[in-house]
Symmetry: C2
Subunit: 338 residues, 2 copies
DNA sequence: TGCTGGCACTCGCACGCGCAGAGTGCCAGG
DNA sequence: CCTGGCACTCTGCGCGTGCGAGTGCCAGCA
């Protein structure tokens, strides 16, 4: 177990390194933080911290920098979440309030997060599966071609074109629309499959094919790989990443382009609160020198999706966590209102 | 007027520079292209080309690189558009065909363009104003709260929540829905304002406020700044930009985050064919060392939106132009089918 | 008039060197 | 267990040098 002072030394190292982006030495530490001991003592503590794997030297006779393990300890034990100030909170609220629709909400959220944290922001659209059906609309595009439109309580809208096996009359269409809505409206999307199973049976034989096709299209929209969408922004902040450029940001940009990777990244966070994944804790190789701070958001008690930021492991964790948490809270509010 | 051979020299310089990314000298030129003259002659031609401002030297006693003016001449006079090969065309078609909805089409197009050109791809969503109304749907969320859903022939869906000044009955809602659709369905969006002007007059006095509110919300979606959306991708390709990194790509990433800037960029292209804007021809400062290749796309004769790529001025213009043109063509087809 | 070979010249760049500065580890003393 | 002192190690930087690519110019030739 590390003594109290050694923890303080670690905290000081993390703070200084995050601030200066340069390895921090024993002398500088004692000058900037009044630890009440001499540099030599700090050096001993540093040696101990290095033995335990919390800090490392880039090369002999340079200062120390925190390791992933060091950041982990810092986040878990040494630092809390820094709450947003009142003006910041007001700014967040104002910024989000003008949104006209869900796309706009998500777009604004991304910009906001990117600006607040000065990092790359990632916002997942509300998951269909975890939302509630508000309405299902069916339109005839042609005698044997329909458009299916799904609307959720979070404002998300999905549309699909359905090619029918046989022409489908206006009366049947109205019938299907009514039956469908009476069954699924205000129900959770996840429950929809069970609710519509037997629907074709209510129709004349010639229409059953079309009804089945419509239903299977409806169910397809719930398939995981289709239903998840997300938006990213603030990639310009990557340029502040480090000095050894191309090699650092290349894999990050590549990872960010892979929606699948990002969704996994956000998905990994199980904690109900803010989750932090540091460096190698991220499964994806390209993100081994980045940290991901994420949190779920939702209109009610349950999270309908996640949002977060991706930045260098050397980031201001308390501030970032505070910003992410605050933004998630306000987005939830906005969604609940619409 | 430049002699034929000098034009050939310029063409050779552009091709070599694009290939090697290094200033090209007279000796290398004569070796790689059989111009039938000696390096000394080429040197004279180069001096002339430099006088005219088509090429420049990064520093004395280095090879030459093309200037923006040089690229311009190359694009206008010395090179055509390189058509895609048959396999490439098939690949494009296959890749786009699996799309389930408009978002998917746009997302796939972005990926495709980025991969084909190895540059940053930008795709604008079909403009509402230039599309045709397929359907307008109105849903009651609460007694005095409606959701307005617009669907276009290009598959674009917009939704807005409308807060009504007074409760609005189910009958009035059905009435409004029917009247609205009979007026605007299959009409061009741009004509909608004139078509609905007098609609409130058809309603009872107590409902007129609500009807007006709905209509003004409808018209608001057509306001330019709201209605334009776009998607970008392939930013990882920026890492291949140049060696002098941060300074080069920083402003580009920043510009790419500004939707307004991008929309202007695409908007500038007036030509019905592929438009190329080279280096300083781009109004935005951050993009002074990039070129933009863009083209309109649409389901029928008229373009409903634009797409293009952003890359270094040192790019393979014929190939990029070919890819952009081909992708636009196929996207148009896909949109027409849905 | 236009092309060619030859020649001197100019620079940028990579390399090697030495130096200063920061930071460390270790040890002996309080 | 803390402290001051000391010798050591390493990086980064500035500087001078040599090399090579590439140029401009000139005189000769078709």
């Amino acid at each position: 177990m590390l003594s109290e002072r050694r923890l303080q030394v670690l905290r000081a190292i993390v703070q200084d390194y995050v601030g200066t982006e340069e390895p921090v030495g024993s002398k500088a530490l004692t000058e900037r933080h009044n630890l009440g001991v001499s540099p030599a003592t700090v050096r001993n503590d540093m040696a101990a911290l290095e033995d335990e794997g919390y800090i490392a030297q880039p090369h002999t006779s340079a200062g120390r920098i925190p390791t992933d393990k060091g950041y982990r300890l810092f986040v878990d034990k040494l630092a809390g979440v820094k709450p947003m100030t009142a003006p910041e909170r007001r700014a967040i609220q104002n910024f989000l309030e003008g949104a006209v629709d869900l796309d706009d909400v998500v777009a604004r959220t991304v910009r906001l997060l990117a600006q607040l944290t000065r990092q790359v922001a990632v916002v997942q659209y509300p998951s269909l599966t975890r939302s509630t059906v508000r309405h299902v609309e069916l339109l005839a595009l042609a005698p044997a071609r329909l458009m299916l439109v799904l609307i959720t309580d979070t404002g998300r809208v999905e549309q699909r074109v359905v090619d029918c096996p046989a022409p489908f009359g206006e009366a049947s269409l109205a019938d299907l629309r009514a039956r469908l809505n009476s069954r699924v409206a205000n129900r959770r999307f996840a429950d929809v499959p069970g609710l519509v199973e037997d629907l074709p049976e209510a129709f004349e034989h010639e229409d059953r094919g079309t009804v089945s096709t419509v239903l299977s299209t409806l169910l397809e929209t719930l398939v995981e790989e289709n239903e998840e969408r997300l938006m990213i922004g603030g990639t310009a902040n990557l340029t502040r990443f480090g000095h050894d450029f191309p090699l650092t940001i290349r894999p990050v940009l590549e990872a960010l382009e892979e929606q699948v990777v990002l969704l996994k990244l956000l998905g990994e966070a199980k904690d109900p609160g803010v989750t932090v994944r540091i460096g190698h804790e991220n499964a994806h190789e390209g993100l081994n020198s980045t940290s991901v701070v994420s949190v779920g958001y939702g209109s009610g008690g349950e999270a309908v999706a996640k949002l977060g930021v991706v930045g260098p492991t050397r980031m201001d964790y308390p501030g970032t966590m505070g910003a992410v948490r605050a933004v998630a809270r306000y987005v939830g509010q906005i969604l609940a209102e619409s």
